[in-house]
């Protein structure tokens, strides 16, 4: 037999420990599968199951307790040809429960061997997530108050496509491990064993009694038909392959020359659903079309579709340093929520500041030049108020002008949307009212 065990670091466990049987079973399984050492990576974490990587002469990654499946996933995604084997005790199982669930659900082609010996061997025999309630362990009475979990049942409900449970002393162990490794997708094999150093001192356990425990538990012996589905790596590759277009950066040419353009600070105060961010984007695009530097900060709630939406824009022929608003030149007050969010700015506005206020919106006292507009009168729907407001400031030549706005629309939208937008803008732009 071709052995993969590390000749310079042969397996050493406590006498009678089931881990020794499992090491040998895994070694035979590798041989049975005709693997080469470089085809395999053993990923482990902390505890006695974490000794496996040192006892084998294959690629190895030994990491943090409970996290072995996370490294294994990264390795397998990066190199799908690798046979990725994870060994984990009942300790890692408890700590890394989320990763076990995710691995079952995802179905990436990894094999997890759970070495369940009912307690934490390395730290003194404390209780774990699999310790029976009547066991005598190093945690005084704590295990008597908590129920052990059945990881196979959990794996099944989490969508595992291959689950096996057997004694670590099972004569067919090597074949069972080989079958799990051969399975295309996530496979989990739970082995039940004896921790002779800690557990069996006070809890009589023999290979025979373990057989009975296995027999008394629900049976899992391979492919879970009802969870059968494509392996994640192949599925991911197929889906990702359809994404062929690399998104280019939005880059806008200078199209308009405005020699004496002065720095502008535009504040758009609206609500979710009013396309405030899009309007802010358009103002920025308009600035870039005129060869200006721009910056935009948006303020909206995490709960979208509700609450304020505020856009703050700087347009400047100079490089923009501090990206905050200091002295607005244009304020568009389009909703009470938006105004409430920036209510303090109104008292500070200079007289030259152009404030456009929708008729239904109340604004605090201000010394600025306020123009009121009744969008409803022009049959403009609320989600178009911000866009229509841009038409008004373009006509008034506040921050932007009509050529800038038209260029911005053309850089941002397709021809049809540009036309529709111009129609909306035209409803007021072409009227006598402003």
């Amino acid at each position: 037999m071709n052995s993969f065990l590390n000749k310079s670091r042969p397996p050493v466990y406590c006498p009678g420990c089931t881990h020794d049987k499992i090491s040998k079973g895994l070694d035979k399984a590798f041989d049975h599968l005709n693997f080469a050492p470089e085809d395999i990576v053993i990923v482990t974490d902390i505890g006695c199951s974490g000794l496996f990587d040192t006892f084998f002469n294959v690629h190895a990654l030994h990491g943090i307790h409970g996290r072995a499946l996370t490294y294994a996933s990264g390795l397998k995604l990066a190199n799908p040809k690798l046979n990725v084997i994870v060994t984990m005790g009942d300790g890692g199982l408890g700590i890394g429960g989320a990763h076990v669930l995710a691995s079952c659900r995802r179905n990436l082609d990894i094999t997890l061997i759970v070495l369940n010996n009912f307690n934490f061997g390395m730290t003194g025999g404390q209780y774990s997530t699999t310790t029976p309630m009547d066991a005598v362990v190093g945690s005084e009475f704590l295990n008597q108050a908590e129920m052990p979990l059945d990881i196979c049942a959990i794996a099944q409900s989490a969508g595992a496509t291959y689950i096996d449970r057997c004694s670590g002393h099972d004569d067919l162990l090597q074949k069972k491990i080989a079958a799990a490794i051969t399975h295309k997708g996530f496979s989990m094999i739970e082995t039940l064993g004896m921790c002779t150093g800690r557990y069996t001192k006070r809890n009589p356990l023999t290979p025979k009694s373990i057989d009975k425990i296995v027999a008394d538990m629900p049976e899992y012996s391979g492919v879970v038909e009802k969870n059968n589905r494509p392996e994640y790596g192949e599925r991911y590759t197929a889906l990702a392959k359809e994404r062929t277009i690399f998104p280019k950066a939005v880059t806008i040419e200078k199209q308009i020359d405005i020699p004496d353009y002065e720095r502008q600070e535009v504040v758009i105060l609206g609500s979710a659903g009013m396309r405030i961010v899009t309007a802010g984007d358009l103002v920025c695009n308009a600035g870039i079309c005129a060869g200006m530097n721009v910056s935009m900060k948006n303020d909206y709630n995490i709960t979208v579709l509700r609450g304020q939406s505020v856009s703050e824009i700087l347009i400047s022929p100079q490089k923009i340093g501090y990206p905050g608003i200091e002295s607005p030149t244009v304020v568009l007050a389009l909703s009470d929520e938006g105004v409430a969010r920036r209510k303090n700015i109104f008292a500070t506005l200079k007289q030259a500041t152009f404030v456009l206020k929708e008729k239904s919106v109340d604004i605090p006292k201000t010394g600025a030049n306020v123009v009121e507009i009744d969008f409803r009168q022009f049959k403009i729907k609320k989600h178009d108020w911000a866009l229509a407001a841009l038409g008004i400031i373009a006509k008034k030549e506040k921050a932007i002008n009509k050529p800038m706005l038209e260029s911005a629309l053309k850089t941002r939208f397709n021809e049809k949307v540009v036309q529709l937008s111009m129609q909306t803008i035209g409803k007021i732009y072409d009227s006598e009212i402003i």
């Binding site: 990654l61 030994h62 990491g63 190199n79 990763h99 990702a240 880059t251 806008i252 920025c284 340093g321």
Partner: protein, 371 residues
């Protein structure tokens, strides 16, 4: 002339792509989510891999696994995610696993304010891992910096085989701005030094350098471990071997300190005040200095982009001529402790703000003028 228009997070993603990043794993969190969104659009067409972990710890684990298989990996999060990353960051530091971590900082502590900026994590990034081994932290001030510094971050990660942090901020990551992307000169791409020869030992290295790399999964067997190890990658209790490795982890970063010091400056001969800042705050400092200059008061400034390892030589040299040193930070005083440590003979004044809003140039002018 044409200008590109994007938020800092998109610029950071574009920097990663320019650096050759081919693996991203992350978990959504405001204000870093759009880095993930951008990578998810950019990596598949380039043949790269982009996945969502079941949590932040897993995302870092995927990156560690992929990096050990030879990938150039990026992950992105904010303060609460950095907290969860911590154990994996320690692993990557101690076991010399190259990866880049974008921390788009928000106001802490804890879950804090998802949509409010602050430079909350400056000390946490440096010390939020076990052992105290030095890390590299770069702080961008704008979208252009996000683009360029991310390339530097990958270069440093590859060269030093360590996690490199980009300490961004909500006010940079989610602020959209224009910049001339086409005229940017990016640093040349640094690739991981691969092992050549026979008898590979995964952690055998020069005393002040990272070990040459071979990926897990190639012809030569590779061992990686989170435990204290010798050059062969097996656990060791030999004090000499342990001591030498710990020293090397420190020396490989510190010996390159000056070479990886990135900064901007405007030192004026006729000024007596030097303002030191970093990140988005340095933009307000620069504006304040420009305004004060028009009023006839010359102010010098030093805007740091490499925060860790602390650019001690640079700070000493630049501060030497000044009577007054003022540190401005978007927190209540984190990096100022470093400046005071480096300049014990100087009176270092401080202004910090931690209320969810940017420090404005006028506030900085008041601090400067209030002698």
């Amino acid at each position: 002339m044409a200008l590109s228009f994007m938020e800092g997070n998109e610029a950071l993603a574009r920097g990663a792509i320019a650096a050759g990043c081919d693996f991203f794993a992350g978990y959504p969190i405001t204000p870093a989510t759009t880095i993930f969104n951008n990578m998810l659009q950019m990596l598949p067409p380039k043949g790269g891999i982009c996945v969502q972990g079941e949590d932040e710890i897993a995302s870092m684990g995927y990156c560690i696994g992929a990096a050990m298989a030879g990938k150039k990996t990026l992950t992105a999060t904010s303060g609460p995610g950095i907290s969860l990353y911590s154990e994996q960051i320690s692993f990557a530091i101690g076991s010399e696993i190259p990866l880049v971590i974008a921390d788009v900082q928000r106001l802490g502590p804890s879950t804090g304010s998802a949509t409010r900026g602050a430079d909350s994590d400056i000390q946490f990034l440096r010390w939020g891992s076990t052992s105290g081994v030095p890390v590299i932290v770069l702080a961008p001030k704008d979208a252009l910096d996000c683009y360029v510094l991310t390339v530097h971050a990958f270069n440093y990660a590859e060269e030093f085989r360590c996690p490199v942090f980009i300490a961004s901020n909500k006010e940079i990551g989610m602020t959209k701005e224009s910049f001339d992307m086409d005229s940017v000169t990016l640093p040349p791409i640094v690739e991981r030094k691969m092992f050549k020869g026979n008898n590979f030992l995964p952690f055998e290295a020069e005393p002040d350098a990272a070990p040459p790399f071979l990926p897990i999964g190639d012809k030569t067997l590779v061992r990686q471990t989170s435990s204290t190890h010798g050059p062969d990658g097996y656990i060791t209790i030999d004090p000499e071997v342990i001591g030498a490795t710990q020293k090397r982890l420190r020396d490989k970063i510190h010996s390159a300190r000056e070479r990886i010091t990135l900064y901007e400056e405007n030192i004026k001969e006729n000024s007596d005040t030097l303002v030191i800042s970093y990140g988005v705050t340095s933009r307000a400092v620069e504006d304040a200095a420009a305004i004060l200059e028009t009023k006839g008061k010359a102010i010098s400034f030093l805007s740091l982009k490499t925060l860790w390892p602390t650019p001690e030589a640079l700070i000493k040299k630049k501060a030497a001529q000044f009577k007054r040193v003022i540190v401005i930070e978007m927190n209540l005083g984190q990096y100022v402790n470093e400046i005071r440590r480096i300049l014990p003979e100087k009176k270092v004044e401080f202004y910090g703000q931690m209320n969810g809003i940017l420090i404005a140039p006028k506030t900085i002018m008041e601090v400067i003028e209030n002698e």
